[in-house]
């Protein structure tokens, strides 16, 4: 694997770390299996790309993308909380609908951002090579996001959200409005995922309506790899596990695809992904079984 390919994998892993943290909030904190992310990731990319081309400041464009993602999460929460649709199904409905929404937002299946100003533009040409600038820039944003989510989850408000996912009946008895927690959690989760999409569009120079396919699997892969490596030892470690899991996942994929010996090609990506997640899921069981 060349250095450029390696740092490219790290960069992609950091972009998807936002997805991983979002998926962690939905699946682990709220216990809400949310597939909306397959739609909110390209939604973030689409909104950002269209706004940047229209001349909007790229930071503002990314902020709008987050609001759009939050709205998508709220729709899923509404279907589940207000209309009692099974959480998984509610999220699939939103995801399917978002495919059309994303096409409408962009007006075509993909939008190129070649030569457009992005959040990264000011940092190119400061002496550092481009393939270092991108992971460094995204990495700093990931660090900020992780610190904010960590502080939140360890606050009174965050504790209410964790209780909602862990034991809703107890949470209500303690005065926690569990419906509101689901709205809030789904909004934050999908806002993070959409921000990941916004960064994806800006680091790769395009937004594509199909780029969301499998986002949930990638996010879950990162969460599970993180858990396998670090175990359950507090919120900060779990969040760090999500980020590292996301990076390691991308490096593993890159390794698998670039090793000539294995004879894999780019189109085998989805199979390799499924195989990796399966291994990450089985590994802890084997370890436990061996100890017993």
């Amino acid at each position: 694997m060349s250095q450029i390919a390696f740092w490219g994998a790290v960069e992609l892993g950091l972009v998807y770390a936002f997805v991983a943290v979002g998926v962690f909030l939905a699946f682990r904190v709220l216990d809400f299996p949310d597939l909306t992310v397959d739609g909110s990731f390209p939604l973030g990319a689409a909104v950002t790309a269209v706004l940047i081309i229209a001349g909007v400041n790229p930071w503002l464009a990314a902020a709008v993308a987050m609001v759009a993602g939050a709205a998508a999460g709220i729709v899923t929460a509404l279907l589940n909380v207000r209309f009692r649709i099974l959480n998984l199904l509610a999220s699939i409905l939103t995801m399917i609908a978002l495919f059309s929404v994303n096409l409408r937002v962009m007006g075509k299946p993909n939008v190129a951002l070649i030569n457009a100003d992005t959040m990264l533009s000011p940092f190119y040409g400061l002496g550092l090579r481009d393939f270092y600038v991108r992971p460094l820039f995204v990495g700093i944003l990931v660090l900020v996001a992780v610190l904010i989510v960590w502080r939140f989850l360890e606050s009174d408000a965050g504790l209410a959200m964790r209780a909602t996912g862990a034991n809703a009946r107890m949470a209500r008895a303690q005065g926690v409005d569990t419906s509101r927690q689901i709205y809030l959690g789904m909004a934050i989760s999908n806002a993070l995922v959409a921000f990941g999409g916004a960064l994806f569009a800006q680091t790769n120079g395009f937004a594509d309506v199909t780029s969301g396919v499998g986002t949930i699997v990638v996010g879950l892969a990162a969460v599970i790899i993180g858990e396998t490596l670090f175990g359950a030892r507090g919120i900060l470690i779990a969040l760090a596990g999500c980020v590292l899991g996301s990076i390691l996942y991308r490096i593993a994929i890159q390794l698998a695809l670039s090793t000539d010996m294995l004879g894999l090609q780019a189109s085998d990506l989805n199979f390799v992904t499924a195989a990796l997640v399966t291994v990450a899921l089985i590994l802890p069981r084997l370890r436990r079984g061996g100890a017993a």
Partner: protein, 264 residues
């Protein structure tokens, strides 16, 4: 103070399984009074507790806790008035959160929850003191996950949780039923101590007639969704478990199949 007026609860309305769980129950419990509630399965004990807690909204009647009409308020909305310990130790606390996180959750019951760190040094110290009073050695394990504790330990912690924030009423839902006899006695003594010290208005639902007569100031028996016995004061002092069983038999018009369960 608790006041319920002419409460009716109908489950499964319009279905073959329709059941009048409470049929016009009226009851006033004065400030600081400790009331025990007994009755056979399906008598309406749990439903009455649910009506007070907010889990069950009555089809008719009025519920007042303190000076607030809570008839139409859900569980979360009235949580500031109601502290509660559940029958199942797993229900009353979050197994995946640590002991101190559970305490922090309970300390803000019924209050707004902001971005203040849930476990500041001051709060931790306060939690440590309150848990140390239990003499279970848990004060050194505050960071442990709740699901590492035994059922009895969890109920003891739940009792502390119930008193961390102020409340108008304490509801105990057969909270010793899932424990071994030794731990049940420990939790009952702890309950007595906490209720007396804090002068809490308390309602305890129990399966044990012994408990119902030994604790509290007043005993109520429910049957078929109605109050069939309400004793307090001197007449309660002379009442024996055997008298209650006889009353049970008369009401049901049949012999009980399992006396042991009731005497327990």
């Amino acid at each position: 103070m608790i006041s319920v007026k002419n409460i009716k609860v109908l489950f499964g309305k319009g279905t073959p399984l329709q059941k009048q769980a409470l049929n016009g129950v009226s009851l006033t419990i004065e400030q600081g009074s400790f009331v025990t509630v007994i009755g056979s399965n399906g008598a309406g004990k749990s439903t009455l507790l649910g009506v007070l807690a907010g889990d069950v909204l009555p089809s008719e009647g009025e519920v007042t806790i303190g000076h607030t009409d809570v008839t139409r308020k859900g569980t979360a909305a009235r949580a500031g008035l109601v502290a509660r310990v559940f029958q199942d130790p797993l229900t009353g606390s979050c197994g995946t959160l640590s002991i101190e996180e559970n305490l922090a959750l309970a300390a803000r019951r019924g209050e707004s929850r902001g971005l203040t760190p849930a476990l500041g040094a001051k709060r931790r110290e306060h939690f440590r003191e309150r848990i140390a009073e239990l003499n279970l050695g848990l004060e050194s394990r505050l960071g442990d996950r709740m699901d590492l504790l035994s059922g009895g330990q969890r109920q003891a912690v739940s009792l502390v949780m119930a008193t961390l924030a102020g409340s108008e009423v304490l509801l105990l839902d057969e909270h010793t039923a899932a424990l071994d006899p030794g731990m049940a006695e420990f939790v009952m003594n702890l309950t007595q101590k906490i209720v007396t010290e804090r002068k809490l208005t308390t309602m305890m639902v129990t399966h044990s007639m012994r408990q119902a007569l030994d604790y509290g100031h007043r005993t109520i028996m429910l049957h078929g969704g109605e109050i069939v016995l309400d004793v307090a004061g001197d007449s309660r002092k002379t009442l024996q478990v055997e008298d209650l069983i006889a009353m049970f038999r008369r009401i049901r018009g049949q012999t009980l199949d399992d006396d042991a369960l009731l005497i327990g």
